[in-house]
């Protein structure tokens, strides 16, 4: 049974609560959209009852499939559902401001310290660690596509990689082409 809920009354105290809860979640969540979304859901659905569980899941599915940052997409879609355009703006601002502030401060210190030889050694080591992270993600993603045992996705991977890495074809052009290929030939559910 879906617990009943009513769309929130759009007054100043609601907007402030929306801003505050979203801002705090965004400010203290390391790890991007997939960590932020469950926390937003807990606040909006379970604690405040501003939106239903099913509707949140549907909107999050859209947020993950549209372009852009998943957390920002989720804020836009949920904010719009709960309180229209103003809700969207409030939720989006609250999502974007914490990283904007944090990274402005960090880039200031980065410029200050990046020339220091000891910091450079640490950063160099961390670059290798970060490389390991992205290798790990790449391996998992390729394995997932291979497990599907479908020809088309593998051709797209090979073609896109070669065009991008060896022939420097514009990435946005490649994304457009692959999106069109998908629209024409990959609407079947087996490609999901």
């Amino acid at each position: 049974m879906e617990p009943s809920y009513t769309l929130p009354v759009r007054n100043r105290s609601f907007y402030w609560k929306l801003f505050k809860s979203t801002f705090i979640i965004s400010a203290f969540t390391v790890g991007g959209g997939f960590v932020i979304i469950p926390l937003l859901k807990t606040k909006y659905v379970d604690e405040y009852g501003w939106i239903s569980d099913t509707e949140t899941l549907n909107l999050v599915a859209i947020a993950q499939s549209m372009p852009g940052v998943v957390a920002a997409n989720a804020a836009v879609l949920l904010g719009y559902r709960m309180a229209g355009i103003v809700g969207t703006i409030v939720a989006l601002l609250a999502t974007v401001l914490p990283p904007l502030i944090t990274l402005s401060v960090i880039s200031y210190f980065y410029d200050l310290f990046a020339a220091n030889p000891y910091i450079q050694m640490i950063l160099k080591g961390m670059q290798c660690g970060a490389t390991a992270l992205i290798i790990n993600v790449a391996i998992d993603l390729v394995a997932k596509q291979l497990r599907k045992k479908l020809l088309l996705p593998i051709l797209i991977i090979l073609g896109t990689f070669a065009a991008n890495f060896f022939f420097d074809v514009n990435i946005m052009l490649l994304i457009l082409i692959d999106g069109i290929l998908g629209l024409i030939w990959m609407r079947n559910a087996k490609y999901n």
Binding site: V30, M66, G68, L103, G125, L133, L174
Partner: protein, 187 residues
């Protein structure tokens, strides 16, 4: 004027990055590092590292960092707003369509084509990272023997650690400390 360019470049990146944080990296690299040289490849990898350890999505972090580099706080705001502008517009359109029709059918096909494309692009970014970490080079090196052995050691250990599900923050902290120790031993 530079702020308008930042806004526009990051709006394009925001519009074309599909598939979460890692998917934005090849696009950001192509624009910010390769085309406009706002950041070096090394600085770009550092942002990626920092983003793994600080709150906030990597795309927004990279936009803020690059924007700050180019034009201080105004640049940061311009790049970040640009980056989320497509989300804002598309999000509202999709939310309306969804409430009206309850389905986003053809979008699935597009996404099915894009998913493998993103895999390929992330592999490309991964190779750029490896070239920088081990050969200190942004392109394929002419002399492969110039490999940085301490870098290779840290990279190998980090891959093992991650495959064993050790947390990202621990791996990055560990590789930083190891980098310092090996650097001091060398120097």
């Amino acid at each position: 004027m530079i702020d308008v360019l930042l806004f526009w470049e990051f709006a394009k990146i925001g519009l074309f990055c599909v598939g979460g944080g890692y998917a934005s990296m090849p696009l950001i690299q192509a624009s910010v590092v390769d085309t406009y040289h706002w950041l070096s490849m090394s600085e770009f990898v550092d942002i990626f590292t920092i983003s793994q350890m600080t709150p906030g999505p990597i795309g927004i972090n990279a936009a803020t960092f690059a924007g700050t580099k180019v034009d201080g706080i105004c640049g940061a705001v311009a790049a970040t707003i640009g980056f989320v502008a497509p989300s804002f517009i598309l999000g509202i359109i999709l939310a309306r369509l969804f409430f009206k029709y309850g389905d986003i059918g053809p979008i699935r096909g597009i996404l099915n084509g894009l998913r493998p494309a993103v895999v390929a692009l992330i592999c490309g970014a991964g190779i750029s990272f490896i070239l920088l970490a081990l050969w200190n080079s942004e392109t394929l090196p002419s002399d492969w023997s110039g490999i940085d052995l301490s870098g290779a050691l840290i990279l190998g250990l980090s891959v093992i650690a991650i495959r064993r599900k050790i947390s990202v923050i621990s791996v990055l902290t560990g590789s930083g400390i190891l980098g310092l120790i090996l650097g001091l031993l060398h120097g």
